[in-house]
């Protein structure tokens, strides 16, 4: 099964001092993204399959695919818990994001 991830439209995010800082407006949890997290964040457009994101991590950070996948899944799971990301087995469009219950 192909997995897709998308950034939530409601999330406040900003580069600060070379780091991406994001906050969940739902519970005001703050996250500072490291380099790996930033790549996942930038790639989470709802159209790029997770497999492609993992491949990008392997290429950019010279890590084994299983390590990159584990890191990516942990990261995505945590952000999903805070309403910052969404995961689907279908591409996530702006329209489908609006229909998703919050």
């Amino acid at each position: 099964m192909t997995t897709y991830v998308a950034r939530s439209k409601q999330v406040a995010a900003r580069m600060l001092g070379g780091e991406m800082m994001i906050m969940s407006p739902r519970d005001t949890t703050l996250f500072n993204l490291n380099d790996v997290g930033s790549v996942i964040w930038e790639s989470a457009d709802g159209k790029t399959p997770l497999d492609d994101i993992v491949a990008r991590l392997c290429a950019e950070f010279d890590v084994a695919p299983e390590v990159a996948r584990q890191d990516a899944e942990t990261f995505i799971h945590e952000l999903t818990e805070h309403g910052i990301m969404r995961v689907s087995d279908q591409p996530i469009t702006a329209e489908s994001a609006r229909q998703e219950p919050t």
Binding site: Q10, E19, M21, P25, T28, L30, N32
Partner: protein, 268 residues
């Protein structure tokens, strides 16, 4: 039929006057006493107004936390000691409370936090003072030393507040305004405004010194001290952006201080 006079007072904090109306002369006098120099005569350019509906005192349940939510375009604000509504489209609202100064104070803090969120400003747990025409903020949680630092202020420094600072963007950077929101000092701040020179994160220590703080830590520290009550994802996002704008433009440093007046030698 009994005729009751309506008393009107404009409480002007941060350049945003709120006209408060009450039928009670005693409550109007209490407000005048509480807000002192922040009370202005009602003027034609007022924007916001609140009608006070006084009810008899009742037992307050301590666990009734503040709740602020938007319902059908109106802000609904409740705490154990008050219920209030405010319609941002008309700029008008009401407060139901017993005759005490703390309830209206809570409502004013909430309203100003809402107004500021759309203006790029915020209320923050910080003492502030003006010295040499520039404002300095001293942020920290209870016990960090906000009131101590305010008490130690030299004669040439005007204390804007020892508890809750009022920050708004200006044409060039940011301004701090005095507030009547007092902490342990139990004294309203000077009703002044001044361009903001720096925000210091307070830490008590063995000596007085200033340390740099990296931007990420600065943003986290300021966000931790923000006063914002509304469960509203859009406004929470705006406050986040405002704080990140703020730390990008205003120096944020750590002020390690011993509780004696020499710390003010660093604040110039």
């Amino acid at each position: 039929m009994t005729l009751t006079a309506t008393h009107e007072l404009a409480i002007d904090i941060g350049g945003m006057p709120i006209l408060v109306r009450t039928d009670s002369a005693e409550f109007a006098a209490l407000l005048e006493d509480r807000y002192g120099s922040f009370i202005h005569a009602p003027s034609s350019d007022r924007i916001f107004s609140l009608d006070i509906d006084l009810i008899p005192p009742r037992t307050i349940l301590e666990d009734e936390d503040v709740s602020v939510r938007l319902e059908f375009g109106r802000w609904i604000m409740t705490r154990g000691d008050f219920r209030a509504e405010f319609d941002p489209r008309t700029g008008h609202g009401w407060v139901r409370q017993s005759p005490n100064p703390y309830s209206i104070d809570g409502v004013l803090r909430i309203l100003h936090s809402l107004f500021l969120a759309r203006e790029g400003g915020f209320l923050v747990h910080a003492a502030s003072a003006v010295r040499n025409g520039r404002a300095f903020l001293f942020a920290g949680v209870s016990g960090a030393g906000k009131t101590t630092l305010s008490r130690l202020a030299p004669p040439d420094a005007e204390v804007l507040t020892d508890e809750i600072s009022y920050v708004r963007p200006s044409q060039t950077s940011y301004e701090a305004f005095g507030t009547p929101f007092a902490g342990e000092l139990a004294r309203i701040g000077a009703n002044l405004r001044a361009p903001l020179a720096a925000l210091y994160l307070l830490v008590q220590g063995p000596e007085n010194r200033i340390e740099p703080v990296d931007p990420t830590e600065a943003a986290r520290a300021v966000l931790r001290n923000i006063l914002f009550f509304a469960h509203d994802e859009e406004l929470v996002g705006l406050v986040f952006q405002s704080v990140l704008d703020f730390v990008a433009r205003v120096p944020v440093q750590r002020l390690i201080f011993t509780p004696d007046a020499r710390v003010w030698e660093l604040i110039v």
